[in-house]
């Protein structure tokens, strides 16, 4: 374990650690640059060393030449600093070299506000540009593939994206074509950047060269708040950051977690925010009457549906998908078992034949974030039902009322139509889920549709494929009247609901801690206030 001194701070590192890794920090301090920041573009902790941006210059005592921190291994007693004038000068000029042919189109660039060039120039820049010649012209708005657009003029050729497709996705779509200052990122003809992880290239692009087709021009990043959560797209449980404002959610980016997803996430997971957005959600509960659908407050609907469920008692069945939190399963199953004395709890598994699939990187065939968690709770209550029991029960009439906790990501449930058809045979159907569904809305008979909270609107725990329980915090509220499964469970068995006032991210005033009934909750909590963003 060699010890070195970086900017006067003694640091002990593992054998083979490079200077930049030592400076980046490890363990709890990873990414915090405990001994001072060093300018860098091409180096990325999740990729191999390219050593081409030449910004991470440091001075090593006893070495007349400046060395790059990313390719120099720390040796015992090494004395390193990056605060000397020589190093600062090298970084200043290094940044200027990056910028001389950069279009400086920040006002129309999507990366503005979170751009490596802006950030590092503020910190290390020269501030008196001397370039007076014409800039190099390159291709703009290059369609690299279904998810990513390239602006070659903005590109600083750090080669992170090329190394990503080489080393992580192993799809090798990207390369650097031509040479010198005519170099451009590109793909081979007829082989676009099209893989399941392609949007990571946008994340690691330090400038606005690679932009996401999904996100570009939709929001300026300084109008977005972000918050960490767990992706609910599959059973891997990637740690992610969601970006949102009062207009809804806009994008998802990965958050480093060594145990789960490293630095990356898949493209599929980047779409899940859409299911939480208002336009795809049920805003009100609905009850089918002879006159058609009658809109209700979700809480009232759950209470009313609860009468039906209660009267069914042991003849009520509960169908659960693996898309809710452990806490919610616990609450609703305990209510079913203890209050209704029904052990008719069924697990609706989508695509069970693919459940064990794994692409070797992150994507898993089980498209539920919490299948493991559900199975644990079912086991806890000694429930081991089969779907055929439900089918039989519906046919024989022993199951009269079915309560369904439907999926949040309906696209991952190819059997959605079939299940709706099958379950609608019950006398009473109480279907709870967050997103709209036209098949459900076409049902007749005794049907209640109750809107649920999405994964970003509640606290909870997901247990991933490996049995790792990951707790996450509520991000914000989109549909304030929607219920969590736990709340719905209480209401369904006739309990009154005591709602603890939730700390609200948008409203400063703390609501008095009185007993609030669901119906009276504040309507729209998406209040945009300047100052906080």
């Amino acid at each position: 374990m060699p010890k070195c001194t970086i900017n006067g701070k003694e640091i002990e590192v593992k054998e083979g650690t490079t200077i930049i890794e030592a400076m980046y920090g490890s363990g709890e301090q990873k990414g915090e640059w405990p001994a001072g920041k060093v300018a860098h573009y091409c180096w990325h902790p999740g990729l191999s060393v390219a050593g081409v941006c030449r910004l991470c210059m440091v001075q090593i005592e006893g070495n007349p030449r400046l060395q790059i921190a990313c390719n120099t291994v720390v040796t015992e007693g090494m004395k390193i600093n990056n605060t000397s004038d020589a190093v600062k000068d090298a970084a200043k000029w290094g940044l200027d070299f990056h910028l001389i042919n950069h279009p400086l189109d920040c006002p129309i660039c999507d990366q503005a506000g979170e751009c490596g060039l802006q950030d590092q120039y503020m910190e290390f820049g020269k501030y008196n540009p001397e370039m007076a010649e014409k800039k190099v012209k390159k291709h703009k708005v290059v369609d690299l593939g279904p998810t990513v657009v390239l602006d070659s003029e903005r590109c600083i050729l750090c080669s992170r994206c090329v190394r990503f497709t080489e080393e992580v996705s192993k799809t090798n779509e990207l390369g650097i074509f031509n040479r010198g200052d005519r170099s451009e990122i590109g793909t081979f003809d007829g082989k676009p950047l099209d893989n399941k992880y392609s949007m990571n290239t946008v994340d690691i692009c330090p400038v606005g060269a690679l932009t996401s087709k999904d996100f570009r021009f939709r929001q300026r990043v300084w109008y977005l708040k972000d918050s960490n959560t767990i992706c609910n797209g599959c059973s891997t449980g990637c740690n992610v950051k969601v970006y949102f404002n009062r207009e809804g959610f806009f994008r998802v980016k990965p958050v480093y977690n060594e145990q789960v997803n490293g630095y990356w996430m898949c493209d599929e997971g980047r779409d899940v925010y859409k299911f939480a957005n208002r336009e795809n959600r049920w805003l009100k509960a609905k009850k089918r009457t002879s006159a058609g659908w009658e809109e209700m407050q979700p809480g009232a609907a759950a209470k009313e549906a609860g009468m039906v469920a209660k009267s069914a008692g042991a003849n009520a069945a509960l169908v659960l998908t693996g898309q809710y939190t452990v806490e919610e399963y616990e609450a609703i199953i305990s209510n079913f078992v203890n209050e209704l004395k029904s052990k008719n709890v069924f697990h609706w598994m989508n695509m069970p034949e693919k459940a064990e699939d794994f692409d070797g990187l992150l994507l898993r065939g089980d498209k539920n974030p919490n299948t493991k968690g559900l199975l644990q709770i079912l086991q806890k209550y000694g429930i081991s039902t089969k779907w055929s029991d439900l089918t039989a029960g519906l046919a024989s009439g022993t199951i009269k009322t079915v309560v369904v906790a439907g999926p949040e990501i309906q696209v991952q449930f190819p059997d959605m139509k079939d299940k709706i058809k099958e379950l609608s045979k019950a006398q009473n159907l109480i279907w709870m889920q967050s997103g709209k569904n036209s098949d459900l809305e076409a049902l007749t008979g005794n049907v209640w549709l109750i809107p649920m909270k999405s994964y970003v609107e509640k606290d909870g725990t997901f247990v991933n494929y490996a049995g790792l329980a990951q707790k996450f915090k509520k991000v914000t509220t989109v549909i304030s009247e929607a219920l969590t499964l736990a709340e719905a469970g209480d209401l369904l068995v006739g309990k009154m609901l005591a709602i603890k006032p939730e700390p609200n991210v948008f409203v400063e005033a703390v609501r008095p801690p009185d007993r609030v009934v669901v119906e009276h909750r504040k309507k729209n909590e998406f209040v945009y206030r300047r100052g906080t963003l």
Partner: protein
């Protein structure tokens, strides 16, 4: 007078064929070498003081010594990607004496324990490639290459590989990338090629002239080789003399030969009525010397380094008083801008920037601060990149601008060349 250690029989056309080469004692040294121990050969080369003839002048024996001492397969690559502007010695050697190079490579391969060699030839060298390929065929047919060379139990295979016309592939790791089938870009060091080179195996890369020089060293011994040159610059070297001299060409002289003599005695001096203005002593990357500096230096590593330039590849470019230094620098910056591989930012952007500044001066749009800016940009390109191309682009700029500042200032002020006058102001378009 030339000292023809390598080029003695270059005037004979038949010297390029196997029988012609053998008639002059060819492959006798190989027989001698195969009776020696590999370490003996390495020691002999070390003792000879032979330094790399490609440009960097790194001691050859020491380079060989960096190889790991084990039985791991290793490669011997001959760098024949002779791209340094002004240099044309390797071409002559390959055209006139391909077997000399092959013999040198077999001996070197045996010494470093390599069983496979490649000659990476500059893509534009169609004729040398065809000569080399023919010679390699002849050598295979005669049992000088392949398995069990001359019944010694030693194996050595040799291939001739044609580059595709990139200057950067003359940089040893760039060449290795290119040989591996990748884009010809230098690799990050460490690891150095001797540890991890071609196909991630230990690799030695030597210049054509270096490998050929192994033949006379083993033939007559290190001491005989050391008779020529100085303590630190031993032996003879080919110099490619070009530019405004009466008799340009390749000349083999002992190191430490006076540059003045090369120009005036061997090269026949300046053309009538012309005066020496400047000399680039070691290929276009070497800082230019003024006439006064040039007349004092000797052609060896120390003397030229003391004068602030480099012996480099031994390409001596002579510039007389009819040449405009701004024009010349325009040619050079254009070359380096064209040839930068684009990997490292300071070089990729800097070479283009320098070229644009020099050309805006040439087009009469120059500003006085541009001269200072050229120096600043070049200064900040120096020593900041993976390979030496950035330095190679920066050094001529620094030396041209500082040593011939008056010509640059005149051009900026007047909008035309001090030497050419207003005539042909649009020469560069």
């Amino acid at each position: 007078m030339e000292t023809k250690l390598l080029t003695e029989f270059y005037h004979l056309d038949e010297f390029r064929t196997l029988p012609g080469y053998q008639k002059q004692g060819g492959y006798e040294v190989l027989k001698k070498a195969l009776k020696m121990q590999p370490q003996q050969i390495i020691d002999e080369v070390k003792a000879s003081g032979l330094r790399g003839r490609g440009g960097a002048g790194f001691p050859t024996g020491m380079k060989w010594g960096f190889l790991p001492k084990n039985n791991e397969p290793r490669y011997l690559l001959c760098n024949a990607d002779e791209g340094e502007p002004g240099t044309f010695k390797d071409r002559l050697m390959m055209e006139r004496a391909p077997h000399q190079l092959i013999e040198g490579m077999i001996i070197s391969g045996y010494a470093v324990g390599s069983q496979k060699g490649y000659i990476y030839v500059r893509g534009e060298y169609h004729y040398p490639i065809s000569v080399l390929r023919k010679a390699v065929e002849e050598a295979y047919a005669a049992g000088l290459l392949g398995k069990n060379i001359l019944g010694s139990g030693i194996n050595f295979d040799l291939d001739v590989y044609s580059g595709a016309g990139a200057y950067i592939c003359g940089e040893e790791t760039g060449m290795i990338s290119s040989l591996e089938g990748l884009k010809g870009q230098p690799k990050l060091k460490p690891p150095f090629p001797a540890v991890q080179g071609y196909l991630r195996k230990p690799t030695i890369v030597n210049n054509v002239e270096t490998l050929a020089a192994v033949v006379p060293i083993i033939k007559d011994g290190a001491a005989a080789y050391r008779k020529f040159g100085t303590e630190k610059s031993a032996g003879t070297k080919l110099f490619s003399l070009s530019g405004n001299v009466v008799r340009p060409g390749n000349y083999e002289v002992p190191l430490a030969y006076p540059l003045k003599d090369l120009i005036y005695k061997l090269g026949g001096g300046m053309k009538p009525g012309r005066k020496l203005k400047a000399v680039i002593p070691g290929g276009s990357s070497a800082p230019v010397l003024t006439a006064e500096e040039a007349e004092k230096v000797n052609l060896d590593y120390e003397s030229i380094a003391a004068a602030g330039s480099m012996l480099g590849s031994g390409a001596v470019i002579v510039i007389d008083d009819s040449q405009c230094m701004v024009d010349m620098l325009g040619v050079l910056t254009h070359f380096y801008h064209h040839e930068s591989c684009g990997q490292c930012t300071p070089c990729r952007e800097g070479t283009g920037w320098l070229n644009k500044i020099v050309h805006s001066i040439l087009e009469g749009r120059g500003r006085l601060q541009d001269i200072e800016l050229l120096i600043k940009v070049a200064d900040n390109m120096k020593g900041r990149t993976i390979c030496a191309l950035s330095d190679a682009a920066a050094l001529p700029v620094l030396s041209f601008v500082t040593k011939f500042r008056d010509e640059f200032e005149y051009f900026v002020r007047e909008g035309h060349s001090k030497v050419r006058g207003v005539r042909n102001a649009e020469m560069h378009h």
